[in-house]
Amino acid sequence: MTAHPAIVDPAARRRSRALGVFLVLIGLMIYVFFVRSSTAGQLATFGMNPGRQTSALRIADVTLPVLTSLYIMSLLSVALGVAQLAWGFRRAEDVVLGLVALLLVLAFLTWAARDQSLNLVGILEAAVQRATPIALAALSGVLCERSGVVNIAIEGMMLTAALVSAVVGSVSGSLVIALVVAVLASGLLGALLAVLSIRYRVNQIISGTAINILATGATSFVSARFLAVYQHLNSPSKFPNWPVPLLSRIPIIGPAFFESNVIVYLLFVLLIVVHIMLYYTPWGLRTRAVGEHPRAADTLGINVYRVRYINVILGGMVAGLGGVFLVLGSVPRFDELMTAGKGFIGLAALIFGKWNPFGAFGASLIFGFTDTFQAKLQILRAPIPSQFLRMAPYLITMIVLAGVVGRAEPPAADGEPYEKQ
């Protein structure tokens, strides 16, 4: 990724050119779709304060002249694209790509809000809530795939944890116990995935698929056989929102990030912990070594199997936390198939975030955003069908995975079973 500038890799050069063209295209897209359908004198108002009573400091709403701002955004992305084509941003390519993605989002918002007002903080708040389970799923993927085990069973693990947390939460009346038991239950599924993939060397896609089918079947079975009859087993309480002192007073960021429930904060903590563990501790070095080249790691005395077992079980537990969020963190009840593909979106976020904790979190935020827009789009009566926005995360992931722009490369031994010699 960080090739020496003197060594020119033709594929890298082609990619950097493709990125330049892509950035210019985004600029043109802003022009074609948004600039041309706006007229001079239109104003867009962005609400900068949450609609509810909060402890955040109030700031003034922002009003932008639509046409001028759109022109600036369009020109800025074209300029960045041209700069990329002419000189190349090299290591800052990811940052520039993120910046232009943000520009596109802003342009879209500005255009959608012309002659209207849009509560930006409200959207951000909703996006964070929607991004949380996705980010936890992606983080679970980071843990597993960095050690070389593909985990497509995240969906099933989340679903199981969601069910367990609903039942245990209702029976015990304690949210903490519910959270712990649910996380342990999905950790158990992680252990099953690990045993199948590592001990029995089952193809990881197959073991993941089996666990997904098992989890959807088992949770729906329990739900239909017990929860439908005994409704009191499915009525846990909900984690309250705890504003973080001081941080929640920051305008915009405060209400969006620091007035949430404990699971969202757990996610933030986990992000930092996993990032530090992965890049600055022996455990992280071992994990990455096992994911890239298990044989070499084994030669150096690292127990490949043990590293993989630990990581997959931890990954299962983190995925479970995402499932718990869906129940105890939002609607406090379990519904059949309530994860609705969030585990798979998490996989997409993992790829888009290039197998890094913070990258995955950023990607999850973007996906959470598109999810929120999609709902908003219908309210704003925008002429773009909301379904296209729903496709966007998946399309972006495919583009990134194909390496047309911002190539994402998985760990080298991802998905390979390891057999000790």
Binding site: T209, I213, R225, F226
Partner: protein, 489 residues
């Protein structure tokens, strides 16, 4: 000589292992049915028996002598006593005075065991009751599964006998379950073939769901937009449209894999969700039924419908034979043609294939096109044979089930057809099991998951049944490349 016995043992296990996997899954499913049955749980923990004299009904009563043998001669907490015409539970502290009575008062009323007192046994005191309840639970469930999937044998024989006597009225009801099983199996055959063909070429197509959707959309479009065509033109065209639609949908991840190395597993999953969104948009927009508010497509023309052979409720349609024909075609293509040889070689060893001058790009794209085409054909089949329009919630999880099918069928067309018949039968029967025995239909998914695990990790089955591991190379998929080793040569 020695080699051939080994080979024979390996060959025997290729048939034995799937069978044992199915049987084991059914046994575990039965255990699940038992332990999730509240009546069985009650029969294991608290078996009520009323002390009676004279003692007439052993199912609800117990003689005083037997009661005294197991139980102290006085009323204890946990018993139930008759007061007036109600039965009250004896407890230490009364919290609900309509159903409970304190120990002291109960002993005043009934100082000794005798008629009017109900005592409770546990499982170990009356194991027969619990075992019988367990047996009843599982046998009711599984016989409902059998009757729902194959039919009631006695009724079928009688219906046929009546038919010979000139009264065909009972036939359709008697054979309805069988017809439903075949109807349910049809999409499974095609999606299973799709995944199996991918496996043979070393590709993991877990996007059969999306390809099925797109195939259905393409087929329904051809079905309702073209008018006035004769059936022998319109129907093949509708099926072909489904095949091409699904094929193109599958070819995109194939092309990405061949050109950029992007893993097809992720891309097929992404294409699934894109297909759902696309279908949602089309059904709410361009393809919405005129004059309606629901997101469904118009009905296809009569000339685009697969013929049904029997009237009335029997939904069995020609699509089943289309699926069988496709299975034969896939067999021929894979094992009797150069194209199939190339596909299998690329699957078995891409490096060798490239060295032998085969184009990886061409073969990967072709394999994904054919695989997607089969899944698309499955969607087209359901549109033209069953529902005649495109509903918004179209598919029923074929994408993941088909992986189980391909594994169970060892990626061989014949195996896939047999596996699909099994799964279709189970699914169709589960509907009846749900209504008769209140076992949620989701138990089939649990069975399927267990079958996948047992097939994919045969060591578990071998350990359970003390089978020896054959020395010949294990014909199980362990990684991408080995997936093509489905059947022994």
């Amino acid at each position: 000589m020695k080699r051939s016995t080994r080979a024979r043992r390996a060959h025997a296990q290729t048939i034995l292992l799937p069978l044992l996997a199915i049987v084991t899954a059914l046994i575990l499913g039965g255990i699940l049915i038992i332990v999730s049955d509240l009546q069985v749980i009650a029969a294991f923990t608290r078996i009520p028996r009323q002390v009676a004299r004279p003692f007439t009904d052993p199912a609800t009563q117990v003689s005083l002598e037997e009661a005294l043998w197991r139980h102290p001669n006085e009323v204890i907490v946990g018993d139930a006593v008759d007061v007036g015409n109600r039965s009250l539970r004896v407890v230490e502290e009364v919290t609900d005075d309509r159903n409970q009575i304190s120990l002291e008062e109960a002993r005043k009323l009934y100082p000794e065991l005798g008629p009017g007192v109900t005592i409770h046994y546990n499982f170990f005191q009356k194991p027969g009751v619990g075992l019988r309840a367990a047996w009843r639970s599982v046998s009711v469930a599984y016989s409902a599964l059998f009757e729902g999937s194959i039919g009631n044998p006695g009724r079928m024989v009688r219906a046929v006998a009546d038919w010979f006597r000139g009264d065909p009225s009972g036939l359709s009801a008697a054979f309805y379950p069988l017809s439903e099983s075949l109807v349910t199996s049809t999409p499974y055959i095609l999606t299973g073939l799709a995944v199996a063909l991918g496996f043979r070429a070393g590709l993991f197509n877990i996007g059969a769901e999306g390809q099925y959707f797109v195939g259905g959309l393409a087929s329904v479009f051809v079905g309702y937009s073209l008018k006035g065509l004769p059936i022998y033109v319109h129907l093949p065209l509708a099926l072909l449209a489904g095949m091409v639609g699904g094929g193109l949908w599958g070819a995109i991840p194939g092309l990405l894999k061949a050109k950029t190395g992007a893993h097809e597993v992720i891309n097929t999953i992404m294409m699934n969700y894109i297909a759902f969104a696309l279908s949602d948009w089309l059904l709410n927009g361009p393809m919405m039924r005129p004059g309606g508010y629901r997101p469904i497509s118009p009905e296809i023309e009569a000339s685009a419908r697969l013929p049904r052979f029997f009237g009335g409720d029997i939904r069995f349609h020609a699509g089943f034979f289309v699926a069988l024909a496709m299975a034969a075609l896939v067999y021929w293509l894979l094992f009797k043609t150069t194209i199939g040889f190339e596909l299998r070689t690329v699957g078995a060893n891409p490096h060798a294939a490239r060295y032998a001058g085969m184009s990886l790009t061409k073969n990967i794209v072709l394999a994904m096109f054919l695989s997607g085409g089969l899944a698309g054909m499955s969607g087209a089949n359901d549109i033209t044979g069953l529902i005649y329009y495109m509903p918004n919630a179209f598919s029923a999880g074929y994408g993941f089930d088909s992986i189980a099918l391909a594994l169970l069928g060892r990626s061989h067309p014949v195996g896939v057809v047999l596996a699909a018949l099994l799964f279709g039968t189970l699914r169709a029967g589960a509907t009846r099991m749900q209504s008769v025995a209140q076992i949620p239909i989701d138990i089939i998914s649990i069975l399927q998951a267990m079958i996948i695990i047992f097939i994919a990790a045969p060591e578990i089955i071998r350990a359970l049944y003390r089978l020896k591991r054959p020395r010949v190379q294990e014909p199980m998929p362990e990684s991408d490349g080995d997936l093509a080793e489905g059947a022994p040569a």
